[in-house]
Amino acid sequence: MNYNKRGLAVALAVAALFVLCIAQAFGQQGSQKGEQPAIGPSIVLLEVRPGPGVARIFLLSDLDSGLAGTAFDTPVFEFADEAGQADGVLHPEGANHTEGELLQPALFVCAGTHENEIAGILAAYWLIEKSRVHGAKLFVMPRANAAGATWSLQNPQSPRILQAVPGISRTFRYGARLSNLAYETVSDPPLFSPPAAPAGFPALAGQEMRNLNREYPGSIDSSMTARLAFAITSLLKKENISIAIDLHEASAGSNLGYSIVTRPESLDEAALAVLDLEETAGKSFRLEESKPEFAGYSHWEWGKLGIHAFLVETFNPAQPSDDPAVDQFNNAKSPLAERVYAHLWAVQALIANAGVSLGISVNIEGLPASVLEVEDWLKAPLFEAAP
């Protein structure tokens, strides 16, 4: 498909999805006396304009109809391999393929697992609006837990809205770490143990049941958050994902700000990415090796599928309380544009180095050349932001 035809197809798909989602959103609002903001896929579709690299948009509910029409449904943006049919990669045995089968490489970038970790979400939006991919297919899910984008710690019925230039620039929801209890189908238990946790694993607080990043690989007969994790795992299997990256942010107290966390088998790839990031992003990321205590985390469970999986963290100065007094855009210690820039180059560095292990060469075109470029993008109105 050439770009014009692809652009038309994407535009039509977005328009159809948009109408569907807005209708859904209004339906939802109507059912709740017009007090609730939009939910589900429309959150993303109102905030981002797909660029020329996006070949297809679909909903996660396409993989699990149980998510359709709920606050947990979310769009996925598929980028075609601009270089044409890439060389295959030998993938370990999985649900949809046999060991040794040659498959076209496919990559996955996930953000918004925690909807208050805004830099990863905006990095995903940058990819959707400005990037093209050469050497593999890429799937980008900018708000993995859309149900977390329907509330905030300050207001259980509404997220906060971020805007760099009041009244002028594009707006973004700043949600919460957990799914909104209002949209869950089961109550929080007194204590919660991740389903994949090893024996003797200490139980977590009950509300962690609504933490998507403790629910992998997921389940269809538990909470909606677990069902969401199950649908994402299904997507990874269906699309034979080789490299998966989950974008997060951390508070100063967690000691995880600006770090890459990965399983032991991918540690060298992450270490090489850390070295690359010194040069490309001008940031010293730390490296952390994960272990069985990371049960239920995305990268830990995805790695069990043979995927080269990574967790990337930047430093969000508003966390853990999501302090609204913190100016995300102009924070002296960790401005938002700098964090988005670091996420984007981390994605590139991880894909490049994991790609070497897989014998594939992937290049993401359209990454920002400077933090200032990201800053300008954040300050622009939405329609000017699209290429």
Partner: protein, 193 residues
């Protein structure tokens, strides 16, 4: 003028900096350039995962082919001529290795004793910045640096002058570098060709 430049370049080459940039060469104490011999071995002192970064820097990028074990026992290190100790205590790393800080300190002491008994040269490296400068890290740094022939420190880790003071006190040459990549270049410049 041209002759002067040529003489400087020739001098650098003769001193063993043939594959080292002038910027890196300027950081290396002249008496140490090219005197560290292969085989080399990398281990951590404190179970910091920074050791894994140094490993790929030294082996994948710089192709120096050092041995590596983040929690090496003395028998693994034995036979090496250059020991690289990557400094920094990590609770997560200690947990992953199943070691307490006391056990890790004991392991490091035994490795240091072996290194001295086998006349290894020791390079102490600190690449983790302020995150690897807590109380436990400082203790393990203070344990290792006196045994080192040189300390290579990425700048953020010495913001408070801790390494400056310690190295001065122990008469250990200190090489401050702006990045981990440059730490690798310095290490390469220290190695015999």
């Amino acid at each position: 003028m041209k002759r002067t430049v040529y003489l400087i370049l020739t001098l650098l080459f003769v001193l063993g900096f043939g594959s080292t940039s002038a910027q890196t060469a300027a950081l290396i104490p002249p008496q140490l350039a090219g005197i560290f011999e292969a085989p080399g071995f990398i281990t951590s002192a404190g179970q910091t995962s920074d050791a894994a970064i140094v490993k790929v820097l030294v082996n994948t990028r710089l192709k120096l082919n050092f041995g590596y074990d983040i929690a090496a026992k003395p028998q693994a290190v034995s036979g090496a001529k250059t020991l690289v100790l990557v400094l920094g205590a990590s609770n997560k790393g200690l947990g992953a290795a199943g070691l307490s800080i006391e056990q890790e300190t004991e392991r490091v002491k035994v490795v240091l004793a072996l290194a001295k008994s086998e006349h290894m040269r020791i390079i102490a490296m600190h690449t983790g910045g302020t995150a690897r400068r807590g109380e436990s890290s400082n203790a393990i740094i203070a344990l290792c640096v006196p045994y080192a022939d040189v300390a290579i420190v990425v700048e953020g880790g010495n913001n408070d002058g801790f390494f400056t003071d310690l190295c001065a006190k122990e008469k250990v040459p200190l090489v401050m570098v702006p990045s981990i990549a440059e730490a690798g270049n310095v290490l390469k410049g220290l190695m015999a060709k």
